[in-house]
Amino acid sequence: MAILTNSAVRVEPRLDKARHIKYWTRCLKTYLPHHYTGNDSNRMYLAYFIVAALDLLDALDTASTGPERKDHVNWIYRCQHPDGGFRMWPGTDFGERANETNAQWDPANVPGTYFALACLLILDDDFKRVKRKQCLRWLQKMQREDGSFGETLVRGQIEGGRDPRFAYCATGIRHMLRGESAGCISLNGQLVKDFDVDGLVRCVRAAEAFDGGIADEPFHEPHAGYTFCSLGAVALLGRLNTPDDRTTSNLNAPAAPQSVLGWLVSRQTEFTDPDSSLDTEFRKTGVAPNAQHAEGEHVSSSRGDATKQPIHQDPGESVGDSIFDLLVDGAGMNGRTNKVADTCYAFWVGASLDILKCSTLSDQSAVRCYLLGKTQHDVLGGFGKFPGDLPDLYHSYLGLAALSLAGSHQVKALDAGMCLSKNARRRLPKMWEAWAVEDRTDLS
């Protein structure tokens, strides 16, 4: 195995930092191209990608001036809902025509609120203008009886799927605005209830699938994005079971951390080309399953002679080659079993492993090679979804975030649980402390 540790063989491509900064500065300073129109209602998360990426590249202060950053902060607060929480963009606010009867079409949005607060944190805002009490009260109303969270509240109805993305955002909001305390808290002399933490933990446990991953709902297919959101949520609640825990608690999740770990490490794959079928790789075995199927044979009634065909029989063309390919191409992460790698899953999987304190159990060097050598765009900067794709904000940010988790020192250290720089997250305790003093003063 000496070949694997030989740095002369594994030549790692480098991050073209200047081009990435250029890409993100363009996103910050000029209009995004019209292709983003379909994301108009998700602008707050686009804003978060832009600000968080420039922060990871340590270029926030150089890409914009102080007064410009003040305008950015003002725009985020402009999206704050009068009754607490934030909108995803100003497009639902009716301004002068707003009234009680049309208020139903202008709800605060759970992910919108998480991304707004995260953005403010990165921009070093002091949260002074956040309607904290209203926001936390609204958040509590966003949870269903079964413990799951929705996206918006419209005429008393919680809208949006039973989806851990909303739960993750809810725990992030709770964390930023309440700190690490659980239960009722006093805010400006008024009691604010906590949401049902046990209920949320139960939801995560119920969605652990038969093969070890976590889905959005019980019996749905496990997915790396949902696995991250579920682990991230329970980690932010302080209710995480990790593989190294001697005993797992029924009050925590996941119920089977070892199975989740096994599923997560299985996500790393050398298959990076979405246009080539996975089957081609297995042709070496001499079995063409699809050809057999095409003849109309039933799965359970036909059997190939693959048992006699080793996957790596000829070391000349298999083992040596595959290791060599690995060194050149790297290996990314897929989001579900038997799918090809995609830039964003390098984050969803890498961050999940990091939350479980197992990040070194994947091949991080291969992840870096995949991102830098395959999906980084060498002209525009940023990252595409697949090799050769044009960059977009989503993959470009998650590519950077994943790179940080995979051990690159060219980007700032990332806090996996909140998907922003450790630097930014460290500002929270100071704010919690200030609030604690305020709240005590209110009570006396």
Binding site: M1, L4, L28, Y31, P33, H34, T37, G38, N39, D40, S41, R43, E68, D71, H72, N74, W75, R78, P90, G91, F94, G95, R97, W105, G160, G161, A209, F210, D211, E217, H220, E221, P222, L261, S266, Q268, L278, D279, T285, V287, P289, H293, H298, V299, S300, S302, R303, G304, A306, T307, Q309, I311, A331, T337, N338, K339, T360, S362, D363, G407
Partner: protein
């Protein structure tokens, strides 16, 4: 002049443009003038709570450009129900829209609402088949199918056969494997694979799939899950696993998943830990080196020493 501003049908409406609130807004988009106009008319009618035929047309237009707009879907649904529209027509429109926007999830939520209200799922599986032709692993579509099965009690209306059909197309389609698990075990009050007959049927099915594609993780995961849920000892799968990975023939392993299963089976045997370690070594060094650190970790959990101490460092 945009198409709404010149249309007499809309002459009574004063459009309501979006107010960004100040200079340097974040993530501003270079909208087309069509979108900008459509949006400002939509905002005006929403602000007036108007429910009308022209509103339905307007929401269609907007959804086509921005299907992720979360309140426009709710607004459209209210409008449809308020006007008591023909929901079959709505489904036809939704079919086109879903085919155009494969990754959008609001479309499927809306479809749920409409089909639930119709209380009739005729034609739904035909449409789903069309979606699967384009992407047989579309997450929203599989989730929707589970909802249909539950909502309309379709457990025994050919659903198991449907999973077989999908797997005949692609035996590596993990979504289809997952759906099979759901069909067999997801119905409230049924024993699923805890029933010995069903257990045998499912084991046979998964083993046949392994026979076709030994290096396919889905049926191996399925086999393990059947054994676990049926509380069958893992050792019951030993002979099968050894057909694909045997320590006696370390050069002719033809499935890393068989080798992993074998490691787990050996680890449970009396004095089997060393042998389990050998299986894990083979995975780390030859058959699955990308996960080398994980296989070393597993050895550590068995109380075995790492054979390549530099493994953890090289990461």
């Amino acid at each position: 002049m945009g198409k709404y501003s010149v249309d007499p049908l809309w002459s009574d409406i004063t459009p309501l443009p979006t107010d960004e609130g100040g200079p340097n807004p974040l993530a501003a988009i270079a909208y087309s003038s069509e979108y900008e106009e459509c949006m400002s008319y939509l905002r005006a009618v929403m602000a007036a709570n108007e429910y009308s035929d022209r509103v339905l047309d307007l929401t269609e237009d907007l959804i086509d450009m921005n299907p992720a707009h979360y309140t426009v879907w709710l607004y459209r649904a209210r409008c449809l129900f308020h006007l008591d529209k023909d929901l079959r027509e709505e489904l036809e429109w939704l079919n086109e829209t879903a085919l155009e926007h494969q990754k959008n999830y609001q479309i499927w939520h809306h479809r749920n609402l409409v089909v639930d209200k119709l209380d009739d799922c005729t034609g739904e599986t035909v449409f789903i088949a069309q979606m699967f032709k384009r992407d047989a692993k579309n997450y929203h579509v599989w989730s929707y199918r589970q909802w249909l099965v539950r909502r309309f009690g379709l457990w025994e209306s050919g659903e198991l056969e449907f999973t077989e059909e999908m797997l005949r197309e692609d035996v590596r389609n993990n979504s289809a494997w997952n759906h099979r698990w759901f069909v067999v075990n997801g119905r409230e009050g049924v024993p699923g694979v805890k029933d010995p007959e069903i257990r045998e049927r499912e084991i046979e099915f998964a083993q046949a799939a392994v026979g076709l594609t030994p290096q396919n993780q889905s049926p191996w995961n399925y086999l393990r899950a059947v054994a676990k849920k049926a509380q069958m000892p893992l050792s019951g799968l030993k002979a099968f696993a050894e057909q694909y990975a045997s320590l006696g023939r370390p050069d002719s392993v033809c499935s890393s998943f068989a080798l992993n299963l074998l490691a787990d089976i050996l680890a449970e045997e009396i004095d089997g830990k060393e042998k389990a370690g050998q299986a894990l070594d083979l995975l780390a060094s030859k058959y699955d080196p990308i996960r080398k650190n994980y296989w070393e970790y597993r050895k550590g959990q068995l109380g075995l020493k790492s054979s390549t101490p530099e493994a953890m460092v090289s990461a």
